[in-house]
Amino acid sequence: MNNILNQNPLESEAIYIFREVVTQFENPVLLFSGGKDSITLVRLAEKAFFPSKIPFPLMHIDTGHNFPETIEFRDKLVKEMGLQLIVRKVQDDIDNGKSVEETGKYSSRNSLQTNTLLEAIEEFKFDACIGGARRDEEKARAKERIFSVRNDFGEWDEKNQRPEVFDMLNGRIEIGQNVRVFPISNWTELDVWKYIDQEKIKIPSIYFSHEREIFERDGLIWTASEHVFKDELEEVKTRNVRFRTVGDVTCTAAVESHARTIEQIVHEITNSPISERGARIDDKRSEAAMETRKQQGYF
């Protein structure tokens, strides 16, 4: 038997939030992207309910433009842990006319995910969607509550958020509304990496340095892929890169890196002059790109 438990306050807070979710809501779901933050959430959920199994399913809103490594990882994790995985595809909403594919050089299905997510919330009547967003990532996210209420159109009313005092969480909502829950709101990128290291959590290989065919545009490193538009003047090269944040192929840029271990990654991001989301193509669309997407019901 171990002696005295002195828990990391961030871990304690996240576990507390998970336990509030399952008791305050009827039908929660964990939004799983295959990125390091949602993988960390799975670990925290496992800890919160042990020895019971994680009492809610995972849901992946699939743009179809994935890094294959992420999907492989997702399926392996779900199988090993005996979790339930729901996948809803942006492609299906394009096929049935609910979403319209973007065109042009910067086309991406990133914002189309919102539509598919909101459809899925309605289909399964989810009242709480747990996500891995953190406040240190982005200025609009820095403003968001841990229990963030969405109306029946999935919209975030950022100017009139429900007060959230101390650790008292109020998840009461009307039918049709849903709450987005962010258990690792107060974690930083570094906290997540230290936790992954401490817990020996497995993550997809694309977070570590590897050789990849890329091309450069607007000072960012884009993946050369059939899903990414590239004009003829943009030259494909092979580089040692890794991904610091993982969305799909069209919205995530790589960074040059030789970091092959978590220790090297921690060292790299501690000394990096660029923020984590500096490599997010989706955030660069405008100054308020994240806020606008959030208002519409994005993650």
Binding site: N2, L5, Q7, E46, R135, M168, P273, I274
Partner: protein
């Protein structure tokens, strides 16, 4: 690493967001991409300097008006510690968001515009800090550059502030005064060369020297049960664990505990955190506890040490900060959330708050949004509570409007018997 949680407070345009932006800049916490975004936006606004408030005012409506509407949580770290800053709004109309930000903080930085001195908002924010029992307050007298870095102006403000401090009913906090210019980064992370008469620490040095552990007050142990874990799997067929977060103090295996409100007792058999068992868990830990006896425990119940049973109450006297556009009126019914427990409550009376000489505003028996008043409540069932003074986690509550589901107010229990 040690974490220090700070709330900023001060009136509109006192420079809260600028001070935080400056702290980020001077500690090299602003990455190139974020700095470029600030440069671009500053130029667009026609400024010839960097507007650091753009680092924290994350909403379009905030940047457009140059004000802070809601709390932003900002993270940075030095070699010594990690900081979480809640950048809170200064407008009276956003007081509820200020309380939201301050409630999770350990210390506060109150900004005062050197040209204006101590104003009503300063008193209000200091009062809220005291209500929350924040032990350490830094008063940053900002915009010293606009008063010719005058020592007299600074001293005048210090003595004005000390007057309200003397009148305050809470005496346990430490107040430190620092003259600064957030815009030019003077006495934020670097000592100012324009105020050689000031020999104290910069804001950052002061923060670096604070020991966050000093703020953890040890009180009686309260373990509100969030959920009961019953796996019913082959390996754990009879497992029945009570999951919750330990508040106030510790719990040890073998200790005698009493369940509130049923008053049944048992002993702690095991303390689990994930798949490991511990002899003892310290305050703040989220754990799962099993007991020697099978007793009826559900969400909303609280486990306490058998020699530390809280008192039971049917009426409460409390200080309430109102947060809803629908005013609080006597006779109204709300859901009172106290830890994991929710019960119906009826508002009995609302009076003007008189604490020390602070004037929280005359109340005509109803409490409007952002007002603070003295409220007595009748409860539909007894609760086992403490005063906020004695046991903060077990001495506070929120009121939820059952019609709109919104969090309408936050309450601090003053006394249990009316």
């Amino acid at each position: 690493m040690e974490v220090l949680k700070i709330a900023t407070a001060g009136s509109v345009d006192d420079g809260k967001s600028t001070l935080i932006g400056r702290l980020l800049y001077d500690t090299k916490s602003l990455t190139t991409d974020k700095l470029e975004a600030i440069e671009k936006s500053s130029r667009k606004k026609g400024l010839d300097y960097l507007d650091f408030s753009l680092a924290t005012d994350g909403l379009v409506a905030e940047r457009e008006q140059g004000i802070t509407i809601d709390v932003a949580h900002i993270y940075f770290s030095t070699k010594k510690k990690s900081y979480i800053i809640a950048d809170t709004p200064g407008h009276v109309e956003y007081t509820r968001n200020m309380v939201t930000g301050a409630s999770t903080s350990q210390i506060s930085i109150i900004l005062i515009d050197a040209r204006k001195g101590v104003i009503e908002q300063t008193q209000r924010h200091f009062f809220i800090n005291n209500l929350l029992r924040l032990k350490e307050v830094v008063v940053a007298v900002n915009k010293m550059d606009l008063v010719n870095y005058s020592e007299d102006v600074f001293n005048e403000i210090v003595s004005e502030f000390k007057k309200i401090q003397e009148e305050s009913e809470y005496k346990d906090q430490k107040v430190t005064f620092i003259p600064v210019s957030a815009l030019w980064g003077e006495n934020i992370a670097k000592a100012s060369t324009n105020m050689e008469w000031y020999t104290g620490n910069t804001v950052l040095d002061h923060l670096e020297n604070i020991n966050a552990e000093d703020f953890q007050k040890s009180t009686q142990t309260r373990f509100p049960v969030q959920t009961v874990i019953r796996p019913k799997t082959e390996d754990h067929r009879d497992f029945r664990g009570y999951a919750g977060k330990l508040n106030g103090g510790n719990l040890k295996v073998g200790e005698s505990v009493t369940v509130l409100p049923s008053l049944t007792s048992s002993r702690i058999k095991e303390i689990y955190f994930f798949d490991k068992k511990y002899v003892e868990a310290s305050s703040g830990s989220s754990v799962t506890i099993t007991l020697e006896d099978d007793i009826n425990i559900t969400r909303g119940d609280t486990l306490v040490k058998s020699d530390e049973v809280a008192e039971s109450f049917k009426n409460l006297r409390s200080t309430i900060c109102w947060m809803d556009s629908k005013s609080l009126v006597p006779g109204a019914k709300y859901l009172l959330q106290h830890n994991t427990n929710r019960i119906l409550t009826k508002i009995d009376s609302i009076e003007t708050l008189k604490i020390g000489n602070y004037d929280a505003g005359e109340i005509n028996s109803n409490l409007q949004i952002n007002q603070i008043g003295q409220v007595t409540l009748k409860l539909s069932k007894n609760i086992y509570a403490d005063t906020y003074e004695n046991n903060p986690e077990n001495g506070r509550f929120i009121l939820i409007d059952p019609a709109t589901n919104t969090t309408a107010g936050v309450g601090f229990i003053n006394s249990l018997n009316i």
